[in-house]
């Protein structure tokens, strides 16, 4: 991808990613918030593509579309007002949170601009997906297996935590009984 094409993809994508990220917490509708988060993280995949990481960009789009759709389902299940029609306010410490977030954002931006980062652009092309495949089957196999095992343990742990009448539900029932 040429520098001009990269810039034409990168700047609008970053702008939309940040604006949709802000609107996740500005909308009153939970379903809309989930879809905005999907847009923000999905467009981040486009930013990855602009940064010559085709494999990671496509993976990000696939992962986030699946994950955020599940998140929207959970929101609709657990929100008292998923459509945002009752005008509920679901924020607290708005001013302090915003001040701290702005301070952190400015701090990170200043550090990013003022630090002398190592720059060593070798080529414009993306790393060969084939090379990534060989990397998976080679010395990074252990890392990949570790990620797979982590997901497996999270699935088992998640089911155990959410199970009706599980360990924590019993503690809750006992607490209610004492009261």
């Amino acid at each position: 991808m040429s520098d001009l094409a990269t810039a034409l993809v990168f700047w609008p994508a970053v702008a939309i990613m940040l604006v949709t990220g802000v609107y996740v917490f500005r909308t009153a509708s939970m379903a809309r918030a989930g879809l905005l988060l999907l847009a923000s993280l999905g467009i981040e995949g486009l930013v990855f593509l602009a940064l010559a990481s085709e494999f990671l960009g496509v993976l990000q789009l696939l992962m986030m579309s699946g994950e955020m759709v599940i998140m929207v389902f959970f929101m609709v299940m657990f929100m008292p007002d998923p459509g945002g029609l009752m005008g509920m306010d679901m924020t607290h410490d708005k001013r302090r949170s915003a001040s701290l977030a702005v301070a952190v954002g400015i701090g990170l931006a200043v550090v990013a601009v003022l630090t002398d980062w190592p720059a060593r652009v070798v080529g414009r092309d993306a790393p060969d997906v084939r090379a990534i495949g060989f990397e998976v089957m080679g010395r990074s196999m252990l890392t990949f297996l570790f990620a797979a095992m982590t997901i497996l343990f999270a699935m088992v742990g998640g089911v155990l935590l959410a199970k009706h009448g599980g360990r924590f539900a019993q503690i809750g029932a006992a607490g209610k009984g004492e009261a």
């Binding site: 602009a50 977030a101 010395r139 998640g158 959410a162």
Partner: protein
């Protein structure tokens, strides 16, 4: 022109937006969304470093894969905790979960 600091500034702003969500929202799922944005910012950082500092390092892509795994794990365990808490106290609001005892 796009350079490493530009990418890092974008990632920093995204992290700040996520932080605002984590600190300012009262609903557990909205807080999880903030965490997702913060992890997304971390991924953007790694991809920026991969592009502008070590473009020939294929193993660097695995840092991003680990972060994606972390996002999936955070969502799975987070939703399980929300279900457990909702079953117990009939709410997913963080302000109502101020006690660790039952």
């Amino acid at each position: 022109m796009i350079s490493l600091p530009v990418v890092l500034v974008a990632a920093g702003l995204m992290f700040a937006i996520g932080l605002y969500g984590v600190l300012g929202q009262t609903n557990t799922i909205m807080v999880m969304m903030g965490v997702e944005l913060m992890l997304g910012a971390a991924m953007l950082n790694v991809v920026g470093f991969l592009r502008y500092s070590w473009p020939d390092a294929t193993s660097g892509a695995f840092f991003v894969l680990i972060l994606m795994t972390l996002m999936a794990v955070e969502a799975a365990v987070g939703f399980a905790l929300v279900i457990s808490a909702f079953r117990h106290s009939r709410t997913a609001e963080i302000d109502d979960m101020h006690e660790l005892k039952g």
